[in-house]
Symmetry: C2
Subunit: 406 residues, 2 copies
Amino acid sequence: MISIHTEPQPSDLGDVRVTNRAVVLRHVRRHAPCSRADIAAHTGLNKATVSSLVTELIDRRLLRETGLTENRVGRPATMLVLDGEPYAALGMEIGADELVVVAVDLGGNRLLTWRRAFAAPSASPAETIRALAGLARRAVGRITGQGRTVLGLTVGVPGLVDTTGAVPLSAALGWHDVAFTGELRTALRDPDFTVAVDTDANLAVLAEQRHGAYAGTADLVHLTGGVALGAGVLTGGRLLRGHRGFAGEIGHVPLDPDGPRCGCGRHGCLAALTSLPAVIHRLLPDAEDDGPVRDFLPELERVLTLARQEDPTVLAGLAEIGRHLGHGVSVLANLLNPEAVVVGGHLATLGPWLLPAARDELAARTLAPEAGGCHLDASTLGPTATALGGATAALASVEAGRLPVP
Amino acid sequence: MISIHTEPQPSDLGDVRVTNRAVVLRHVRRHAPCSRADIAAHTGLNKATVSSLVTELIDRRLLRETGLTENRVGRPATMLVLDGEPYAALGMEIGADELVVVAVDLGGNRLLTWRRAFAAPSASPAETIRALAGLARRAVGRITGQGRTVLGLTVGVPGLVDTTGAVPLSAALGWHDVAFTGELRTALRDPDFTVAVDTDANLAVLAEQRHGAYAGTADLVHLTGGVALGAGVLTGGRLLRGHRGFAGEIGHVPLDPDGPRCGCGRHGCLAALTSLPAVIHRLLPDAEDDGPVRDFLPELERVLTLARQEDPTVLAGLAEIGRHLGHGVSVLANLLNPEAVVVGGHLATLGPWLLPAARDELAARTLAPEAGGCHLDASTLGPTATALGGATAALASVEAGRLPVP
């Protein structure tokens, strides 16, 4: 195999220090408590460099010392841990029927998880942004009241997000050309932390990479369940964004031209066969007797109950939906060869009934042996994965070795 | 948008020097002839560092001085160019009916391009590797006879290539589990240059990135034409390889379950609708009257002649194939959001008739506006793109700033 081509940039000693600071922080995050000598031994940095970096990081309250260990030969060493206290980041999600906010500190500890019922699909973008800002301000108030500095806020949106932070299209929310980041900054009265937006799928896969069952995996996909389906893709440890940031649209891969009509106007797309509305429509044909379903959670509960009761019609329907899911995932596996595809939302909730059939279909339809090594599993992160990923994203700058603005 | 997550590695002064060496080489490659002062001004490196690096690179014959320029204010400066003379790399391709070898020097200049008729699909893997080694040895003899050192050889194969340099599967060649790199090294009698293998599509997109119409583009796809279809994908400037190196399999994305039977056993895959055998079968139904077609080039010539004569049946068939191609490319555009998809092989040859319909279909089926900015064009590199990419790949180590073994 050949080397990966990258575009080298000039290095100077400042860059080296940023990189080495990131290396030290990463080592402590993974191996705390650990000593300066441990860091030097495991990172290859010399002891003087480690000592100087650690002093700076303690000054900036990114690390702290925590007693001595005597569990070693020679002089006892002072142990270091991440200092979770002074810094926090927020992540939010605009879901189909709720807004979510999560705050985490630099150690990845959750400081708060709030969910507020809000029907964004039937609100205007301005109303949604106002509601988001209100929830965010309350969370910021709680965090700063604890003496912490908020470093950033990243919001996950189900739709296309461009490189300027605008949302050209969200079919799930009914949005067109919303200048999201700018409007949210204004609604937050130009805060002194960073405000960013990303797709719900991209943030969810960042949460998987940090906190999920496949944490640390470099080639990983999170496939969102819900009203829309999107893929967040990590390849070689980096988010796959594409030229304009629009990568990850898997919902309209064509599986069955004779299948049900899709929101995009065509028939038999993956979304038309496996999204939450499609699953309810397929398994509960009477659900729409009183008009279109708007609140899917009670219907999903009914499906779950029937599945647990081993209702043969529902089990057969779930197996069929699972085959379509596996078919769609095989397109990801063939094109991206991930180590794992993790499904969220209703696809995770219904995982015990969907995934066995999906895995068979994935194995049968992937060209590489053993599905190219691709696992297919339900997310373990629950309904706040995207918001958790948003908080993780907002900490990335510090973790990359850049010091927070004092 | 959030920062891209990477795994920082410790830096030391040696790494810095490698990186800075790469920066200097890249600058000279793009802007030669240029002076030491030009390099310092454009790279941000200080003049003493540039001077020290240039001295070392001249000593190792990676750069050379080329007279003075007086076209400036002040003292005339000594101009630098890449020294193409002492180093070369080889790339090869196993095509359906030929073997190709290309040699380039460090400046990217082609030193030789040889094509030898060879029907690999009807030969054994051992016979093919023997034929490759024979051709490679003659090319190496020519290059070393010119006083050049061969740095490496990279071979492009139409099939799956794993991270050990083996080929688990090539449907186009009829290969299963061929320990390719090891066998080729043995056939070459353990040469002192690196021997590597990659997919034909990965090498072709490297050639596009360096020498094609979209040179320098960070998010780029090359879709090979021929007996099989494969995608070579660059994302953020890096090859997308996936967990086991099997990324890029786009040929079996399902487009039409009622379509023609595919080699994989299913119906209506992209390959069953747009590969070279599928195109000949669709447009020249009489071609198989005397048995299966084995040599496709005369048939492709017949299609070209009929298209130029504006034969209405052939034109309608090409437009239909173009729509299928655009449909398949829309899956790439939705999932990867590249800046361009460049098609090779017969898809490039027939591009004037395929691409108008394909572009319409791509625009109609891509969720993002304007197909997410994705251009769809025929490759300008002709039938030796993969071999050229192999030679490019073999030079990557030096271009990344590592000095060749003396």
